[in-house]
Symmetry: C2
Subunit: 164 residues, 2 copies
DNA sequence: TATTGTTATACTCTATAACTATA
DNA sequence: TATAGTTATAGAGTATAACAATA
């Protein structure tokens, strides 16, 4: 960045990738929260359901590790989903301390709808961008994700102390 | 998005621009919070200082409007900065109810350092990307910011209800 | 009657630690 | 002795409403 780093006129926030990511990411998350509300779940639940759709039957501890969430908090999330009839706690085959978490039929019915919500939001976000630009954008963002060590299903905002 | 919207194998979160933005934005904000901590301020204070560097002497209400923050919360933010000796409340020239907020000399000394923190983080984030890709990325993100109606200094996460 | 700054209250979240039952 | 799940407690942060002074 040029020598514009002066007290008199600091560079506008909107010229920084970091700020744009934070601004757009926060807005995106907020919208997703609203769009998902009619289905009775929040983004974190969606992430959990998507993860479970790939790998049913894991313990809460393993789920917590995979999503970067503390196990204490996982209890409440599984509670939420259980109360909505979307997962069930079965007995773990090899460890009697642990539960094995499985999606219910209701979850298999809800997941496509939730995915459609996400698809719609994605489409609305990108609807003024042609296919080439979209591909470029995704590729650049994935490179950043890779470079900053993001793990596939882990949302940093759910890990610990509050950001802004 | 293809017909992969099925319960059996929902598309990975990392294939969605919305998720990548949220993930990268949250990580970015978290890092900025840590990098700024030695200076004794948080990202929201930085945003406020940067805004004040352009337009000193505004009322708290006008600042609140400009940054998309409720005036009740602005009281505490100005308190923070005042206690750190970075701003001062002067009497407003035309409205005896209002204060006029001004940066102090200490703030003019601190701002360049804070900007350097932001510059360093930006550089670390982009250090494996060549100049052309950086320009492309910024341009694409700014188009998204424009399309989603982001206002220059407004961070959606500070507006109201909690996101994820 | 509306607005600015302020304060107090209540509420939501989350972090921490502790407990139990198993390993 | 360590780990999985759970629960309780406390703490941070935020929203809401109300108030005094002034417009």
């Amino acid at each position: 960045m040029s020598d514009a780093t002066q007290s008199a006129h600091p560079p506008a926030l909107a010229t920084r990738v970091s700020f744009l990511l934070s601004q757009l990411g926060s807005d995106s998350a907020q919208q997703f929260t609203e769009h998902l509300a009619p289905l009775g779940i929040q983004p974190v639940h969606f992430g959990l359901l998507v993860h479970l759709a790939r790998t049913d039957g894991q313990s809460q501890q393993r789920l917590a590790d995979a999503l970067g969430i503390h196990r204490n908090r996982m209890v409440g999330l599984i509670d939420d989903l259980e109360h909505r009839g979307l997962v069930e706690r079965r007995q773990h085959p090899s460890d009697r301390r642990a539960h094995a978490i499985y999606l219910t039929a209701a979850a298999h019915e809800l997941l496509p709808r939730a995915n459609r919500v996400a698809d719609d939001q994605e489409a609305a976000l990108l609807n003024e961008m042609d296919a080439a630009d979209r591909a470029t954008l995704i590729s650049l963002l994935q490179r950043l994700a890779d470079h900053t060590g993001q793990r596939p299903d882990v949302h940093p905002g759910l890990q610990g102390q509050r950001r802004t």
